[in-house]
């Protein structure tokens, strides 16, 4: 465990001395802020329009739950934006280690491959959380100023969902990073893989055939929607856990075979 911690510490240190980290953090801050503002104004306008209509023409008062809608849509946007940001977080994990020759240091030190992988996985996850941190301010803003008062549940489950989705994507990204010595190649391939997941998710939503049902059950992006609505489903937890496990397992195998292939 102390080895995992040492490796994690090194990874984090490395993140925060590299310019890429700050670019990723800044870009994410700007994009998420922009979308939050947009979503907020859209739903406020829509609710004002609806209440105006009901005043003019009589009828029942509008039942638009602005805070919940804003929060849900905001989570939806975040889950898409991270598809673009995470490849940059995972691209260097193993690719750069291989290019620099420091893989030789790690693999001739008395640490296990599993410890190395877990150190990198948790470091990426922590960086991801740091990236998400500012968005918490927006949610607090909604919590404080919304009326009717926004429920706390969906916000909690939304972040849990982001963490699980992020973990699954990071595990996949780290695996892809073991396959090359070139960070840019790793980032491109990872982004390509995320796009494929996204396309699978889209096609699964577009119909109700047997195959599409299976796909939508397996789609990690699809499961995120439940979380953003405040629903924590055991099957979703299982899917995410399996996906993370699969990604880390492939990483493990890839590193082991690195020794044999060379």
């Amino acid at each position: 465990m102390k080895y995992v911690f040492a490796l994690l510490e090194k990874e984090l240190r490395y993140y925060f001395v590299s310019p890429i980290a700050y670019v990723v953090l800044t870009v994410f801050l700007i994009i998420s802020g922009y979308f939050f503002y947009n979503i907020l104004t859209i739903f406020i306008e829509r609710s004002m329009f609806a209440s105006l209509q009901s005043q003019q023409f009589g009828g029942p008062p509008p039942s638009i739950d602005v805070p919940a809608l804003v929060s849900r849509n905001f989570f939806g946007v975040l889950s898409t934006v991270i598809l673009f940001m995470l490849p940059m977080i995972t691209m260097a994990t193993f690719a750069d280690e291989k290019r620099r020759g420091t893989m030789e240091l790690l693999m001739t030190s008395p640490v296990t491959n599993l410890q190395v992988i877990l150190g990198k996985f948790f470091a990426s996850l922590i960086f991801f959380l740091v990236m998400l941190l500012p968005t918490l301010l927006y949610q607090i803003f909604i919590l404080l100023y919304s009326s009717p008062r926004m429920a706390f549940g969906p916000i909690f489950s939304g972040y849990l969902g982001l963490l699980l989705l992020g973990g699954a994507l990071i595990a996949l990204g780290i695996f892809i990073s073991t396959l090359t010595e070139n960070q840019i190649v790793a980032a491109s391939v990872t982004f390509g893989a995320f796009l494929i997941l996204w396309v699978i998710d889209l096609s699964a939503r577009s119909g109700g055939t047997r195959l599409q049902e299976v796909l939508s059950y397996l789609s990690i992006l699809n499961h995120f929607e439940d979380f953003s609505k405040g629903v924590i489903d055991t099957s979703s937890l299982v899917i995410y856990a399996s996906f993370i496990f699969l990604g880390l397992f492939l990483t493990f195998r890839s590193i082991e075979s690195l020794r044999w292939r060379q």
Binding site: K2, Y3, A6, L7, E9, K10, R13, Y14, V17, S18, R100, G101, T102, E104, L105, L106, M107, T108, S109, P110, V111, T112, R259, W260, Q262
Partner: protein, 317 residues
Amino acid sequence: MIEVDHLTKRFGSVKAIENVTFQVEKGEILGFLGPNGAGKTTTMRILTCFLPATEGTARVAGFDVFDAPMEVKRRIGYLPENPPVYNELTVDSYLDFVAKIKGVDPKERKKRIEEVKNRVSIKEYSGTLIKNLSKGYKQRVGLAQALIHDPQVLILDEPTVGLDPNQIIEVRQLIKGLSGNHTIILSTHILPEVSMTCQRVVIISKGKIAAVDTPENLTRQLQGAERVYLEVKGPEAMVKTRIKEIEGVLRVDSNKLDGDEAFSFSVETELKKDIRSRIAKKVVENGYDLLELRTLSMSLEEVFLQLTTKEEEVRGQ
């Protein structure tokens, strides 16, 4: 301390090393000498558990590299061909990280880091980012990294490559100073390095061991093909043909000496034949003045060249 037993490593169809066998005693410095592509790095990578061998076994401090890699890794300090450093870390934070993953006792860590920094003289660069260090200083950081957990065994892959002459001398002295407490294998293709630092040499060529011995013995063994050095006053070409007439002479090289009309000749003769007196007689008989005559001992460099060129000839036939 280190036992290497019939190691073979194949990369696909390429045999990087074949049947490599040697031992290193405790406290010894062993030189691993061979030209590019001989298999030095491959052998070292097997010893450090980075690569698995195709056949054969290797033991470090009694532990098999395949069956007990963790025990082996704990006891080895390894400096790969390129120092395994993280450019964006400072020297201190890098050494701190390495100390942690090498399992240095947390209470000792600070002290160890200071010790190794003193040892390789990089103290004044403690807070410098590694990317701002020169090649030589990066190499020192690499050495510091290998020493941090005070390992019983040090494996150094071409530790003086890319250093300037002063730094080379310093690093060699440093390595020499480490013997006794540490068992060291160091690879190189710079020949004088071996005779300067090592007690024993393994010469490897094309993946096979060509010789294992002390630098002195290797030189003596191959002195069969002796060289005689002589200085003669007389016409260069004539003297050369006269010497060539003698039975057992293989080659004659000549050089002009500073003084007028005098030349130096280097005569290569057949194995185990002392023909100094015959050369002397021949020179005097022909009326030339013999100024000096003595045998030349071969340098390790020449030993090495012979060993490798021999291989070439066998293959060529």
